[in-house]
Symmetry: C2
Subunit: 428 residues, 2 copies
């Protein structure tokens, strides 16, 4: 893959083959800096340390991760050494990169899929040796049984577990006020388990915040996340009165809820953190470095903040149907959706590179394997035509999934010149 | 990747890591043999040669392609040397494989995306040198202009073009009775174009046949495809009375419509072919070697004919919600859908390997990046529970897209023993 960089470094994005995925490095940096500084600002407003854990699953690259951690960002007011991964592959490859660089940017990894079953526990155990802090997710009593039966991990320390709290998304996790949650914590605090496993904290992710339509919605959901993990910590204290909750980490976040930290008025949140929180707060999120239409649909992000797009080419036109054909089919864009119509918005390449807002003219209305059918957002006659052979920048609905379709990413500056090629650590 | 084969050859599918994609070779072979023999049977019933062109886009592998061409299938009554590709990468890599094998299984390639624009024409030209017969798609006058401006391709022959006919799918192509179609053919038969480009034939693909619900529906749509390309050939003859239509190829097909060749009663089709067809008929399709739930939903295929599945693991359970968690999220299954609910049907691994029909118990109701939420098809209490850590075979909604998510495929026999690992020629 590295020959791609030697072949295209210094080229203009306008001359790249299509389809390809392009990252605007300046926008990526700005998004990373803003999130780090928003968390730092909250910490200062509360007068307490607030951790930040960067989820790497959107781009899955070494260089993108370093930026999320705060490296190479002159305007970032803090850094972090904690990441979240959606696959073991991401963790293993980032640690390989770090080892070869003889650096230690990362010293804290959380794997965000509850998978403490016999097939995966040995792999989790091996990973525990390679980083100082490693947390696994638990949301079922059998997970604790399986870990206990396996014994301590290869690091020799106890298993450090995040208990996943479901606060409405109904994905993984248990509601903190459910009987299952109570029996899970009773098991967690039993002597047989305590010898092998210790709670690292509680983790909530308001996945349903993706259907918010305003930043106030997402702020309310952030509040709900914080209250849920705080209540979860209190349940643990009720089950084990000797337990000191202050050593716990209460991790909350999703890009939409973390985005609400932009708001100046965070008084309710600050008050809760400073008067009610029983443990240390951690904010986690990942999509924010890229953003996408799903994020724009939450009302917290503008089109021009998106730092990535699919580069495609217009191949044919069908005036009688008012449609165009591009080579941005489902294999490029995937079938992710949001309240914004279609499978991607076609933006003018020059506008997308600059941070100018731009008018939405065309969208990808239908996709099959390699065909993308474009339709005008207004009607055909009011829309600037796109010539056959012209390049289009398609803003994706869900960057985390669309980026999974590309084996590498061209990284360009705001002039559209290729500076770098990032290789993602994909698959399993 | 080849180390995957050396690591797992001879292993049981029950011991493979997850998530992974598994192909049952016996079912794959059976599906390929059946399609080749159905086309041969039609040819014999009509007493005329009928071509078959295998679309390789579902699996994109060398060994899968050889089977589609009829090699290594003792019960196949014919072979073919013609393929259809959805990307140039598929064509280039299959030709690389063939060159290294010093074989010539393939001597006829059609690229199924109309992309005769300046960016791609030089690539098409280079490919024309590597195979005796190479056809490109045209459905716009500008395509003819662009080819003419480029001049003859590197093979030195004329460009050989399939004109894409839209018969209702509204993807690529023009309706044969549209003014645009007429002016395209007038251009095609103009002297300036004739020097550089010659028509190879007309191509129709009833994409909308995927929403059929019975094999009779799909038979009717096959009839419509044949009539549409035949009418298109007649339009060409009306535009250029000297043109001899018998040298044209009229290519029709989609897996649903091609599946209707299974029916014994094909009298209407046979009669049309023998009395009305002005050129040689070609059947093309690709999904049939794998099949998937979209095909089952057309009423032409049974669950147990599917030759591939995603292998996953049950990770957690939430009895209060009546749901389970698996590691088959959208990155594995994609968000393809059909009239069959959800993003995949979880089948019993042992039944899927044998050709027994099996009861549908669980389905993948929701997916996020790496999480698959399973729900019972009937209610929780009537359903055989799935233990944490147990392996599941998830039948995909759309094999062409789901297989694109995996870097390789484990190929097993009906006992579930890994015989081979196939590497797909993915991306662009």
């Amino acid at each position: 893959m590295s020959d791609v960089l030697s072949q295209y470094k210094g080229c203009s994005v306008r001359d790249l083959p299509t389809p390809n995925f392009v990252i605007n490095e300046e926008k990526f940096d700005k998004n990373c800096t803003t999130m780090l500084n928003n968390v730092e600002k909250l910490s200062q407003e509360c007068g307490v340390p607030i951790k930040f854990r960067a989820h790497v699953k959107t781009h899955k690259t070494a260089k993108g991760t370093l930026k999320q951690l705060g490296h190479g960002l002159p305007l970032a007011k803090r850094t972090t050494r904690a990441i979240l991964v959606s696959t073991l592959k991401e963790a293993e490859e980032l640690l390989n990169y770090q080892d070869r660089q003889c650096s230690d940017y990362i010293d804290d990894i959380t794997y965000s899929l509850p998978c403490c079953v016999p097939e995966f526990i040995p792999l989790l155990s091996n990973l525990s040796r390679r980083v100082n802090n490693f947390q696994v997710f638990v949301d079922n009593i059998e997970h604790l049984e399986n870990l206990k039966n396996f014994g301590r991990p290869a690091s020799g320390k106890k298993w450090s577990v995040f208990i996943k709290v479901d606060m409405g998304t109904k994905r993984a996790g248990l509601a903190f006020d459910s009987p299952e949650f109570l029996s899970l914590l009773k098991k967690l605090t039993s002597s047989e388990i305590k010898e092998v496993i210790e709670p690292y904290g509680f983790y909530a992710h308001a996945g349903h915040s993706y259907s918010s339509t305003s930043i106030n919605d997402t702020q309310n959901l952030l509040m709900e996340e914080v209250k849920a993990v705080n209540s979860a910590a209190k349940v643990l204290c009720s089950v084990d009165p000797q337990f000191d909750p202050s050593k716990l980490t209460l991790s909350v976040g999703a890009t939409p809820t973390s985005n609400s930290l932009k708001l100046d008025n965070k008084s309710t949140l600050v008050k809760f953190i400073t008067t009610q929180l029983v443990s240390t707060l951690e904010i986690h999120c990942g999509n924010y470095c890229m953003y996408d239409l799903q994020q724009v649909a939450t009302g917290c992000v503008q089109d021009h903040e998106l730092s990535g797009f699919v580069l495609g080419t217009v191949l044919s036109s069908y005036p009688s149907r008012g449609e165009l054909l591009s080579n941005t089919g489902v294999m490029c864009l995937t079938r992710e959706a949001s309240s914004i119509k279609g499978f991607g918005i076609c933006a003018d390449l020059e506008h997308v590179l600059k941070s100018e807002s731009f008018s939405r003219e065309w969208y990808v209305a239908r996709v099959s394997q390699e065909h993308g059918i474009l339709r005008p957002i207004r009607n055909w006659n009011e829309t600037t035509p796109l010539k056959l052979g012209s390049k289009i920048a398609v803003l994706p609905q869900h960057a985390c999934i669309t980026m999974g379709q590309f084996p590498y990413y061209f990284v360009v500056n705001s002039e559209g010149i290729v500076n770098d090629v990032w290789l993602p650590f994909q698959k399993w």
